[in-house]
Amino acid sequence: MSASPAVMAGNDTPWVLPSRGRVGMISLIIAESAIFMIFVAAYIFYIGKSLDGPTPRQVLKIPIFITVCLLSSSLTMHWAIATLRKGKTASFNVFWLITLVLGAIFLAGTGREWQHLIYQEGFTIQTNLFGTTYYSLVGLHASHVTAGLIGLTIVAILGLAGKIKREHSERCEVFALYWHFVDAVWVVVFTVVYIVGR
């Protein structure tokens, strides 16, 4: 029994809709941006409002090396996708692994910075307002990097097993959107925490 009498003769123009993966990821990125925006607003509002030390200038060093690593990982990610679209899976794997390593270096760098602050400087989230806003904002970003690294690792394993083919380039691209977003957020966090706030 036909459930639908609604089939009608449509016109023959091709019916193209946006990719749902991309739209979904962009929506998620908008939501994530709003979360970051609130944390950034709190950070900026509380700059210089701590009642006692330490101040950012006393304890923070500008993390140039890991910033370069993270930003270049966006570039290698872009190359990885571009080669996958051409079907060159071997070079895709190479670029993807470089991206993974660069991301891991960034996370390790943040970890080292925190270790130094906590154990050498005795500076924690409880110390003052600066500590609260610094650890929450940088930590929120680091947790996003961690989520990205988990995704990168899964794809890397699949890629090394030879499971990633040309037809997966769109899915990898959707994931790449997230990674580019994490990088772009770092530009904001870096500016606010290490330049404006210092």
Binding site: A31, T124, T132
Partner: protein
């Protein structure tokens, strides 16, 4: 055809139904689960409201203790916004949007199930605080900080025990669910439309859900962020809202209302969609001013993002701040007015059928107008200085939420129940429901404005005699009983009609959108073939091949 699918439905064993609910990723089943879940909490929050109305019905009442009263208004508000209104609208959206745009399912079915279960878990978690919220210190059980939980009341000093953590975590969970649902709605509406369903031909309900999805992305996320900050303060010694360490409590207000005000539009905009589907069908006319309607909704969405601090006029902002938020708030009235005029123009000259869905829509039009007018009064900063946090405000926002949102949700139930179950709701009972609920609504909330004007503050558990508040409160409490009676009729109607209602057939209202093109209830696959659309009223085109709409659009 319809009776066959109903017969199939009845023969499933209960265990099978439970299994289907847990395992399903079908948009219709998830939509129904959202709706049933929300109705359950509607009854819970209704009982909370009745208890509070009994306590307030006369002066110096001792029916509830102050502590219990605080918990009740906190849970009533939190439940109403997060576990009744949002899930019920997600439920209707889930059920209807794919059908209306001619799709097989939502864009991400498993994300859809995940979102539902997160929201559901959040609600049950909130109520689990009754059993575990006291913690080892046996502090108060359920959260009692009010639905906007102003700092520093939420700090460990003033909220010992775990009740506030239950509130925070449950909203965090529900927030994740809502963001998942929003992502899904946006992707579905933009990427799953059937051939020919351009954005300019999309049913207005789908448009409204698109706007709602966009708003959720940028409003629920700030709430999530604020809850993370509050958790950092309570658990790991953060100082975000800790004045002793230089933190600011006004910051929480800003962050909460950056979420809180657009949230109202998250709730009302899909309701605009209901009205825009129902009013044309029962006026036998195409929607008047479709593009203006879309433009107005989108602009309401944008403007609503810049009005939040009108909740904070009494905090003492600079005069520029006050002036800015007064003006932006008043600007909202312009697109809203456009919508009201469009609905009136649709009804104007139409061949009106006063069936129950239409009655509720007409009730909505009057009440939403009044709610908007008291909103403009409260948007005026000097007026707000007098009446902020009084019963006038309580009356105003209940006029929006009950008189606006709940009335359209009832309209939606009467309109789409036949599609969902295959049987009509009883029309006589429906009219009883409408009139009794209407009387109850006006008794409660019209008269609630007056004690507010006379100075009665919100959230007081009792009041002294002789201030002139008693009569008005008694009338409000009597109205609550009428509303409860109306709801009971509605619930009875839904249960009885499910088994004995008249068979609906595919298209009982002679409507024009695609959901009425398939069977009632629709099969798992929605449409046997992919529909193709050439106008805003595809079903009209099928019924009237000699005079289709697309010739005129």
């Amino acid at each position: 055809m319809a009776s066959e699918s109903i017969a199939l439905r009845v023969h499933k064993s209960p265990l099978h139904v439970v299994y289907e609910c847990v395992a399903t990723a079908d948009h219709k089943k998830i939509g129904l689960m959202y709706i049933v879940y929300a109705l359950l909490f509607l009854v819970v929050m209704g009982i909370e409201a009745i208890l509070m109305r009994i306590q307030l019905s006369h002066a110096n009442a001792t029916f509830l203790s102050p502590e219990v009263f605080n918990r009740l208004f906190t849970l009533h508000g939190t439940t109403g916004v997060f576990f009744v209104a949002m899930p019920i609208l997600f439920g209707f959206g889930n059920y209807l949007v794919p059908l209306m745009i001619g799709a097989r399912d939502m864009a991400f079915p498993r994300l859809n199930a995940f979102s539902f279960w997160m929201t559901a878990f959040g609600g049950f978690f909130l109520y689990a605080s009754f059993f575990a919220g006291g913690g080892l210190s046996q502090a108060g059980s359920a959260p009692d900080v009010g639905w906007f939980a102003y700092a520093p009341l939420t700090s460990p000093t003033f909220s010992p025990g775990h009740s506030t953590d239950y509130w925070t975590l449950s909203l965090l969970l529900a927030g994740v669910g809502s963001i998942g649902a929003a992502v899904n709605f946006i992707a579905t509406i933009l990427c799953m439309r059937c051939p020919g369903m351009t954005l300019s031909r999309m049913p207005l309900l789908a448009w409204m859900n698109l706007v709602m999805g966009g708003l959720i992305l940028v409003t629920i996320s700030p709430l999530t962020a604020a809850q993370l900050m509050l958790m950092a303060d309570r658990y790991i010694g953060g100082h975000f809202f800790d004045t002793a360490a230089g933190g600011s409590v006004v910051m929480w207000m800003h962050f909460f209302w950056i979420f809180g005000h657009p949230e109202v539009y998250v709730l009302i905009i899909p309701c605009f969609g209901f009205v825009s589907e129902i009013v044309p069908v029962f006026s036998r006319k195409a929607m008047f001013g479709y593009p203006a309607m879309v433009a107005a909704s989108v602009s309401i969405g944008f403007v609503s993002l810049g009005v939040w601090a009108h909740h904070m006029f009494t905090v003492g902002m600079p005069s520029y701040g006050n002036a800015f938020f007064v003006l932006t708030t008043m600007v909202v009235a312009v697109p809203t007015g456009i919508k009201i005029f469009n609905w009136l123009a649709t009804i104007w000259g139409g061949k009106i059928r006063f069936a129950t869905p239409m009655l509720f829509c007409i009730g909505f039009l009057f009440q939403f107008l009044i709610a908007g007018l008291t909103g403009i009064m409260l948007a005026t900063a000097p007026f707000d200085w007098q009446l902020s946090a009084s019963y006038f405000v309580v009356a105003h926002f209940h006029y929006v939420i009950v008189g606006g949102i709940l009335f359209t949700i009832f309209a939606g139930f009467y309109y789409w129940y036949p599609k969902i179950t295959g049987r009509m709701l009883n029309e006589t009972l429906g009219k009883w429901h409408f009139w009794i609920f209407l009387i109850g609504f006006h008794l409660t909330f019209d008269f609630m404005h007056i004690p507010g004007l006379l100075g009665m503050p919100r959230r007081v558990y009792t009041y002294e005699a002789g201030r002139g508040w008693e009569t008005w409160n008694m009338i409000s409490s009597i109205g609550a009983i009428f509303q409860a009676a109306g709801i009971l009729i509605f619930v009875y109607n839904m249960i009885v009609s499910y088994f004995h209602g008249a068979l609906a057939g595919n298209d009982p209202w002679d409507a024009w959108t695609l959901e009425w093109a398939t069977t009632s209830p629709p099969p798992d696959y929605n449409f046997a073939g992919v529909p193709a659309v050439r106008s805003r009223r595809p079903l009209w085109d099928i019924k009237h091949p000699d005079d289709p709409d697309w010739k005129y659009e």
